[in-house]
């Protein structure tokens, strides 16, 4: 499994999801903390391409052997791509949560929402204070 890390260039949501914003689109996933708490991921239940996701609302579920977790959208928009590789190899979420473990790509409806997200420092503080 991956070593604990929180890349500087990402934006973070308090429910332990990250967003990589590039212009008016973004990629979402879950953080190292989230995958560590979950244990080995065995199943990712994705939204459909074209589905609407709303900031702060759950858009998918991720499962380990003994737990189910909602995955929360850090930002709002329309799903343009889903990481199909996770169907065969869901453990990528554990091995590479910010790279091959990405979950969805989204065309943002309101890129300004990103200002409300935490930067890496604020997210680390959140983890320090107890998640």
């Amino acid at each position: 499994m991956a070593d604990e890390s929180y890349p500087d260039e990402l934006r973070y949501h308090p429910e332990h999801d990250w967003a990589r914003v590039e212009g008016d689109s973004a990629t979402f996933g879950i953080t190292w903390y989230a995958q560590d708490a979950l244990g080995e991921v065995v199943f990712f239940d994705p939204p459909e391409v074209g589905a609407q996701v709303t900031k702060d609302q759950a858009y998918a579920e991720v499962e380990s052997v003994k737990a189910v977790s909602d995955v929360f959208a850090p930002l709002s928009g329309e799903v343009t791509e889903v990481n199909d590789a996770l169907e065969e190899t869901p453990e990528k979420v554990n091995e590479d949560p910010y790279g091959e473990g990405w979950m969805v790509k989204v065309k943002l409806s309101d890129p300004g929402e990103a200002d409300q997200l935490l930067d890496v420092g604020a997210y680390r503080d959140l983890l320090q204070s107890g998640g």
């Binding site: 080995e40 065995v42 199943f43 052997v65 869901p90 453990e91």
Partner: protein
Amino acid sequence: MTEVALTIFERSREGRRAFVAPPADVPEAPLDDLLPASMRRERPAELPEVSEPEIVRHFNVLSRKNFDVDTGFYPLGSCTMKHNPKLHERVAALPGHARLHPLQDDDYAQGALELMWYLELALAEIAGLPHVSLQPSAGSQGELAGLLLTRAYLADRGEERRKVLAPDAAHGTNPASVTMAGFELVKLGTDADGGVDMDDLRAALDDDVACLMLTNPNTLGIFERNIEEIAGLVHDVGATLYYDGANLNAVMGIARPGDMGFDIVHYNLHKTFTQPHGGGGPGAGPIAVSDRIEPFLPVPRVVRHAGGGGAGPGSDSRGANGAELTGEAGIEPRYALEHDRPKSIGRLRGFQGNFGVFVRSYAYIRSLGGDGLKEAAESAVLNANYLRARLAELSDYLPIAFDRVCMHEFVLSGSGAKRELGITTKDIAKRMLDYEVHPPTVYFPLIVDEALMIEPTETEPKERLDDFVEVVRSILEEAEEDPEVARTAPHTTPVRRLDEAAAAKRPVVRQPRG
């Protein structure tokens, strides 16, 4: 033992058989005349082809890979793994029980109906609620019944409410039943003493609440001291109070849910009343209800008509103290199944319920009697408190979650062991398997970190409890030296730790076609 685990399908050899058909004593009409080819199977189902000796060996060998209550200590919290009396199998196998068709005319099933009648009376007396239905198949179906009864009761009063309350420490079946019954769950917190958080309760109670579901003692093994106040608050808003009977073994003959203010109770005959667990069933989950809920009970109901020939009105009502188990001399009562109950919620399942389970539970109640049931509860509580006191010697590693006197079970936290020794509750549980005891329930309730829920039951002698303490002590001492042994346990069981992740990622749930 390194024998590869073959399935019965893999032992199959073409042409072998155990079954010999009775002779074809009717004309052998061509099958096409009886059942058109379009309706017939083209290929037979791929069932095994094995002879009887191989069947016996296969399943015997499989059975020996199981640990069971007849073999050793099995302190699973909230499961009440007490001894299963052997008499019960004998009486359940009597042809009058085992080969009785469920649709036999009532007149020719009087023994069965009388047994059900008296079992209902006994259960009513134990719970302190007068009206019983034996129908639900297990505790979960009993819970669902309780919620459907609540819905029907409220609808009959012209009300429709959306919410049901349950503590965060509740067994997962409670919230699942809430959703299946068409309600929304509202969770209540647990206070520092291990009881329901009364502030949460008062804040949550309004006239949109249909029911509060509780277990008492609760899943921490702690008796809900505020139960009278809770019942009052719930009834004040017009909701029902539901009792999950999983922990009834602590209070039989000592306190009754009906007297505590509960409206609806379910029993787990496969816990408190010693129906063998069978590796996951069968069980039964009868329910008892108060007068105001009675009209909505599932059908059929068991009724008793006084006098011979069925003359006179049927009666199924009995006071909370009624328990005429010896019958009246000179009057031959007649028992029957009644279906005409206009307000009934209907049927939860087919026929009358798991009658074979009723036979065993009835035999148990007749064996113990009122005093014996009370003594069973007292012994269960004595054993649990003794084990709790002894395991307190190891509290640096396994502190108790709530430091109070417990009832029939208690919860420890493995957080100390995790912090000091680097072994988790899971590791401790797996290492116990090498000592030939079954671990307690682990990681439940969710509100306790690294939980171990321990319920010894009343049928364990003191020395077994002492042995268990030594097992736990050994495991912890060993971990002080070498935690790896527990982390990689078990070592001596038929299989070692299994890859559950692979089983969930790529489920293989049947033998592939050969």
